[in-house]
């Protein structure tokens, strides 16, 4: 399986993602934001970080960079595109997934482990995964998912919510919402579910001695789904 990770100026989780993808069997290529063409890929990842220093709005500048037109075309032709953290912010700015990510409700940068409930398994990202919960890491200042009421209705009608913040028992309640996101939304799909944007970082949970292994579960399952 071939993957591509796009590096923007200010990306800082691109190499972590490269390590994670390779660990679970992807042949990964790093792609520079000024490149025009994507290498042949089964999965394209927009990594976390602070592309363009978060100028204007997080992800807004990166969403207009040269490579993004190819990423958008790839996604529109059914290709798997995953945006993590800043990558999620870039995805919402391209319009590939609905909504926006606002500043965290309590104005603090949040860096901690959270539990997320997998809300939909009818897609290539979470299909066949045994767990209903994952413990993953979040590190962001703008992860407060927001959309209009009309968009929310559409997202829910199409079961586009991928993961919700919850507690270790899987309860999705406001108390376990770290950043003020509508309905505890931590990740969403596009309508066709080939594009996934999420705030948590699975690539940070691939080593039991450093963090945890729930990221490993995610990547192992993902590559099996793509085979």
């Amino acid at each position: 399986m071939k993957s591509s990770v796009i590096t923007f100026p200010g990306s800082n989780c691109d190499r972590d993602m490269d390590v994670a993808l390779k660990k679970f069997g992807f042949k990964n290529k790093m792609v520079w934001h000024q490149d025009v063409e994507l290498p042949k890929s089964d999965l394209v990842v927009l990594p976390g970080g602070f592309s363009y220093g978060d100028y204007l709005r997080c992800g807004s500048m990166a969403s207009k960079s040269k490579i993004m037109q190819s990423v958008i075309n790839f996604a529109n032709s059914g290709g798997m595109v995953m945006g993590i953290c800043n990558g999620f912010q870039i995805l919402v700015e391209t319009g590939l997934v609905p909504g926006v990510l606002l500043r965290n409700k309590y104005l603090e940068f949040i860096c901690k482990n959270v539990f997320v409930k997998i809300s939909d398994k009818d897609n290539n990202y979470f299909k066949n995964i045994n767990n209903n919960l994952l413990e993953l890491h979040i590190a962001h200042n703008e992860g407060n998912y927001f959309c209009t009421n009309d968009q929310l209705k559409e997202i829910e009608d199409n079961t586009q919510v991928a993961i919700n913040y919850c507690n270790r028992e899987g309860k999705v309640e406001e108390t376990f919402n770290p950043n003020g996101s509508i309905k505890n939304i931590a990740g969403i799909f596009n309508k066709e579910k080939n594009v996934l944007g999420m705030m948590p970082h699975p690539e940070r949970m691939i080593d039991p001695s450093l963090s945890g292994e729930d990221g490993s579960l995610f990547f192992k399952n993902l590559i099996n789904n793509l085979k």
Binding site: R103, K105, Y106, F146, G180
Partner: protein, 80 residues
């Protein structure tokens, strides 16, 4: 010519920074403030000399980059 644009958050969008600024103002003794909403201001100096064309172009810029229309409104406030 120079075009000035103001971008503001839509009414229903939470503005935590505005809230904190409001609280700070209140603490400083400015107790009459009902609400504070923070926005962005841009000055765009363009080669275009026709005011109508320049405004139209800046409007395109607002729609495509400067504002995110899910949460923000834009208003061209000045052209000179």
């Amino acid at each position: 010519m120079k075009i000035s644009v103001v971008i503001t958050l839509k009414k229903d969008v939470l503005d935590p920074q505005g809230k904190v600024i409001h609280q700070a103002l209140d603490g400083m003794g400015f107790n009459d403030v009902n609400e504070v909403r923070q926005g962005k201001y841009f000055e765009i100096d363009t080669k275009e000399t026709n005011p109508k064309k320049a405004k139209d172009e800046v409007e395109e810029m607002c729609k495509k980059l400067l504002a995110n229309l899910v949460i923000e409104n834009y208003k061209i406030i000045d052209a000179q």
